[in-house]
């Protein structure tokens, strides 16, 4: 929850030159120019990630739209202390991609049921193991403590090294590594449990 502030706003006209921090603040405050600017800066990134994950240009566009609309409608929950606007948007992107896979696999199950009944062998290609892992892991990430979540987001989505994450977050390197380890170990457990369940 941001405190009520007066006059901290960067003028809308200067939004193109705004730092990421100012942009994040403006976005959280509901400044539409900041939404536009966020799209200008990271629309391609969001779309690129979605396109690569989903391998479907139309679905990727749809996810891109969902990410920005979702982020805007949910901007009250953006907290700059927990990471930058860009990282937050990437987190949403990965969630939306996972949701898209959910829908896809539900659809596949429907198709399966239908084809089984009709004895037709045509069906879309199933999601690969990596994509299924991604789906499970995205959900598990959400349940991690804030700082574990943040360091993993920065490592996964921003491709930052542990040293860079320490610089970005101001946490000591040892702390970053320890959060990374704990987070990764929990994800590993989750994945193992999931595989066990599907054996």
């Amino acid at each position: 929850m941001t405190a009520v502030r007066e006059g901290a706003a960067a003028p809308a006209a200067g939004v193109a030159a705004a730092t990421e921090e100012e942009l994040g603040e403006g976005f959280a405050r509901g400044d539409e120019a900041c939404l536009n600017e966020a799209y200008r800066r990271w629309g391609a990134l969001v779309h690129g990630v979605a396109a690569r994950r989903l391998a479907d240009p139309e679905e990727a566009k749809d996810v891109t739209q969902q990410v920005f609309v979702g982020a805007w409608n949910n901007r009250g929950s953006f907290d700059s202390r927990r990471g930058s606007l860009r990282t937050w948007l990437m987190g949403i992107t990965h969630k939306k991609v996972a949701d898209a896979f959910d829908r896809r696999s539900r659809h596949l199950r429907d198709v399966d049921a239908a084809t089984a009944a009709a004895d037709i062998s045509v069906r879309p290609a199933p999601a690969t193991e990596t994509l299924l892992d991604h789906m499970v892991l995205i959900r598990e990430m959400e349940g991690l403590p804030d700082r574990q979540q943040l360091v993993l987001q920065l490592a996964f989505y921003e491709d930052l090294s542990q040293t860079q994450i320490a610089e970005r977050t101001g946490m000591p390197l040892g702390t970053v590594k320890s959060h990374t380890r704990r987070g990764l170990m929990r994800l590993k457990k989750r994945l193992e449990a999931d595989r066990e369940a599907h054996r």
């Binding site: 391609a44 690129g48 690569r52 739209q65 892991l137 542990q162």
Partner: protein, 244 residues
């Protein structure tokens, strides 16, 4: 043989530089190798894949237009849960104009009349050609009626130092409860209680000098019951922009 510790394995999986002896150990120890493979699998699944060749740099203009269009839609956008898992970004169909919940976030769903769940929607609503002409009367700016029989007016007066909010609501419903006045932001997620209406449906309420009225741009009057809960009831009578 001493096994590689978890942190080193984690760093190896992330491709961080570690003691060369650690990676050597992986070749000799099945146990550590398996651990490493499991962690590596996570990193592979989660790392954003590198851009493919010939990938379009920007999603077309069309995507931005769709975003703008969706946000400008007068339909209530579905508020995402804080850790949104499955809430679709698609807006629900009409017919969900009002709903009662004491959770402020859900108030966003009540915003249809104002179209105020986003700044864009608000701007759109105020500027669309068929929007009713903004009505300012002696009582202040007309608020949107969320009950057919009620009409509210809000007016901010005074300078930054000593501001007050004058509010008048006519046609209040009968109640054993009371009417509370709120300032909220355009997403209806941040709320500040300003006070209560008098029995004549009027109130002049002091506005703190520290509040950002550009952010808290919406006035809302709710019907509250004496249930001991200080939250907004979700049952709004009138709501709209103040003129501050």
């Amino acid at each position: 043989m001493k096994h590689t510790d978890e942190e080193t394995l984690a760093m190896l999986a992330l491709g961080e530089e570690t003691d060369p002896a650690a990676s050597l150990h992986l070749h000799e120890c099945d146990h550590c190798r398996r651990e490493y493979d499991s962690l590596r699998r996570i990193v592979t699944a989660m790392r954003t894949p590198a851009p493919a060749e010939h990938e379009p740099v920007l999603p077309s203009e069309e995507v931005w237009n769709s975003i703008a269009a969706e946000l400008r839609s007068p339909g209530p956008p579905a508020p995402l849960p804080a850790h949104g898992t499955t809430a679709p970004a698609r807006r629900p169909g009409p017919g969900r104009l009002r709903r009662t919940s004491r959770f402020a976030v859900v108030l966003a769903a009540c915003a249809a009349l104002l179209g105020a769940a986003s700044g864009s929607a608000l701007t759109w609503w105020l500027t669309r050609p068929d929007a009713p002409v903004e009505q300012t009367v002696a009582d202040g700016r007309r608020l949107d009626s969320l009950r057919a029989d009620s009409a509210g007016y809000a007016h901010l007066k005074g300078d930054t130092g000593r501001r007050s909010l004058e509010i008048t609501v006519r046609g209040l419903p009968e109640t054993a409860g009371y009417f509370e006045v709120w300032l909220m932001d355009r997403t209806h997620t941040k709320l500040v209680s300003m006070g209560v209406l008098g029995p004549d449906g009027r109130a002049v309420l002091p506005v703190p000098a520290t509040i950002d009225l550009d952010e808290y741009s919406v006035v809302d009057v709710s019907l509250q019951t004496y249930n001991g809960k200080p939250d907004h009831s979700g049952d709004s009578i009138v709501r709209g922009l103040h003129d501050g």
